[in-house]
């Protein structure tokens, strides 16, 4: 059973207000549509009770309007540290200290590309839900008031192996890259892209690629009011659903775009308006006619019900001669 389109917006709002349990929310953005300037504001908007802690690496001093605390991430990293604990221990402690026990906490890590590939999993584990050992009842208790959100810039995914100097051993090993680690951990992924067709300053995608290859950023991008969002939701059962939306972060409107993307017939979406005035026939059908058409029960529908199995029934008739030998029998 496919989910109805009305459910998709509900799911998106649940994702934004952090009602869906996930160890990690992954936001994928690009040069032309950055998460900081668009989608990150939706979380606080949808759940005003959230305590949002923004760990800034890209942003040093400006506390975004959608956050409650700004942690200057880079200032608390010991660059000489060799292990995860010595390098990031102070930062983790600081962020955890900002968490409010009475509220749900959202920790925004902007962006995760600053953390080395080998430390990604440690980082996620130490900032997402904590396991507290309850002495009185001697059982592990999952404190579930924290959600980690990481922003990942997907511009250089293919070349990530060149990220570190000591990549010689990494290149040969089969250790997964950062994006693979993140997508495996996240149950909610929000992939944002600009809507290129609506930008009057560029012709098409090729034109954009052409400009970007010279690092000439065209006008009209990083648009807060009109961008595309792809929501991937992984359920406990293992089922993965994907929806597409067009989002307006100023009015906080989400329009389901899945229908437009899924092409149901080979001639495009059932839009025949392009034939207007070109034929003498009436190609259109009214809503009433469409409904009537859908309700007609077609004769082969009954045949689709396989209740009797697929046995071949042969009845011997009077003119048939019964042959002992099978002409198609294997001679050997």
């Amino acid at each position: 059973m496919a989910l109805g389109t009305h459910n998709s917006t509900v799911l998106l709002k649940r994702a934004f207000s952090l009602k869906e349990t996930t160890p990690l929310v992954l936001v994928l953005d690009t040069l032309l549509q950055t998460a900081t300037s668009s989608i990150l504001s939706e979380f606080k908007q949808n759940n005003k009770a959230l305590n949002v802690i923004y760990v800034g690496f890209d942003n040093v001093n400006n506390k975004p309007a959608y956050s409650d605390f700004l942690v200057k991430g880079f200032a608390f990293i010991d660059t000489k540290g060799k292990t995860f604990e010595t390098k990031y221990g102070k930062l983790i402690q600081l962020v955890n200290g900002k968490c409010d026990a009475t509220k749900h906490n959202l920790i925004i890590m902007d962006n995760i590309n600053y953390i080395e590939n080998e430390f990604i999993l440690d980082f996620i584990n130490s900032l997402s839900s904590v396991q507290n050992y309850d002495l009185a009842n001697s059982r592990e208790e999952l404190v579930n008031n924290k959600t980690l959100l990481t922003v990942y810039h997907k511009d250089n995914v293919d070349y990530e192996k060149f990220q570190e100097v000591s990549n010689a051993s990494f290149e040969n090993s089969l250790f997964p890259n950062t994006l693979q680690l993140l997508t495996a951990s996240a149950n909610i992924m929000l992939d944002i892209n600009p809507v290129i067709t609506d930008n009057k300053f560029v012709d098409d995608e090729e034109d954009v690629d052409n400009n970007l290859s010279k690092f000439h950023i065209p006008r009209g991008f990083n648009n807060k009011t009109n961008y595309q969002l792809e929501l991937t939701h992984k359920r406990k059962s293992g089922r993965v659903t994907t929806f597409k939306f067009i989002v307006d972060s100023e009015k906080h409107e989400y329009i389901d775009d899945t229908k437009v993307i899924k092409v149901e017939n080979p001639f495009g979406n059932n839009d025949i308006s392009e034939f207007d005035g070109m034929t003498t026939f009436n190609l259109k059908s009214t809503d009433k006619q469409k409904k009537a058409k859908e309700n007609v029960e077609l004769p082969f529908m009954e045949a689709q019900q396989f209740t009797s199995g697929g046995a071949i029934v042969y009845e011997f008739e009077k003119d048939d001669d019964y042959d002992e030998e099978d002409p198609f029998e294997d001679p050997f």
């Binding site: 001093n61 990220q163 950023i217």
Partner: protein, 242 residues
């Protein structure tokens, strides 16, 4: 022909300002990106001189590629502006980023109203062994913004950008320029003329909004995205037009 074109003022924000107005703890980053042959000294001069409230700011000009003697010659400001020059050309020999800040910017004790024009910090990626973009930002540029400067104008040559990466250095350069786009509030792209050469146009200047969150700007000021033609006269004066 050119005399017919109306000279345009450089406008960055919707309130006709060039330099941003932000509260005392905020920061802003401008990136000026150019290709070989369009070295945008005129634009730096324009940003410093043309803002109507430029006397409120303290300017510092630092370059990794040109020494102080040259910069003092080419950056022409009116005498009532506070402009300081810090030569960073020799810092390319440095092996430690924090010491550059310690040695060169020791005299700056508070950051309010300080503007730094920083030319080609990306050269450090080549000069300093094993330096990554991450470290360049974390240990140098972010620290400058932390307690020395409020506004940063980074001037970079984008000829090192490559969309196909084949080495450690190429990756660092490419991700450096990309980081600039993510961090910047405003991007100035100075491009040569596509057709090569014309008598009355030198190139185009595109002003685009960067990727940073813009909610920190006072009021509802927004970046006005625009594309100008520019023409550099023989005497160095520059004309902007549509």
């Amino acid at each position: 022909m050119i005399s017919l074109q109306q000279n345009q003022d450089l406008v960055v924000f919707s309130d006709h300002k060039i330099l941003p107005h932000i509260d005392n703890n905020g920061q802003s980053i401008y990136s000026i990106l150019y290709n070989n042959g369009t070295y945008p000294l005129w634009l730096i001069n324009k940003i410093i001189n043309d803002d109507s409230e430029n006397k409120k700011y303290n300017f510092t000009i630092s370059s990794f590629i040109n020494n102080n003697k040259f910069m003092k010659q080419v950056i022409k400001t009116s005498s009532d502006l506070k402009v300081d020059f810090v030569d960073l050309t020799l810092s390319l020999q440095s092996t430690n980023l924090p010491t550059i800040i310690e040695n060169k910017f020791k005299h700056i004790t508070k950051k309010e109203g300080n503007v730094l024009v920083l030319e080609q910090p990306e050269l450090l990626l080549s000069s300093m062994e094993n330096l990554t973009t991450t470290n360049l930002f974390q240990q140098f540029i972010n620290n400058l913004l932390l307690d020395k400067f409020q506004h940063l104008i980074i001037v970079s040559n984008i000829d090192f950008y490559s969309s196909y990466i084949n080495s450690f250095h190429q990756y660092q350069y490419t991700s450096y320029y990309q980081s600039l786009q993510y961090k910047s509030d405003v991007l100035f792209n100075v491009k040569p003329l596509r057709t090569g050469f014309a008598k009355d146009i030198s190139g185009t200047l595109t002003i685009t909004k960067g990727g940073a969150d813009s909610s920190h700007f006072a009021g509802k000021t927004k970046v006005v995205e625009n594309e100008y033609f520019f023409f550099v006269n023989k005497d160095g004066s520059v004309k902007l037009f549509y």
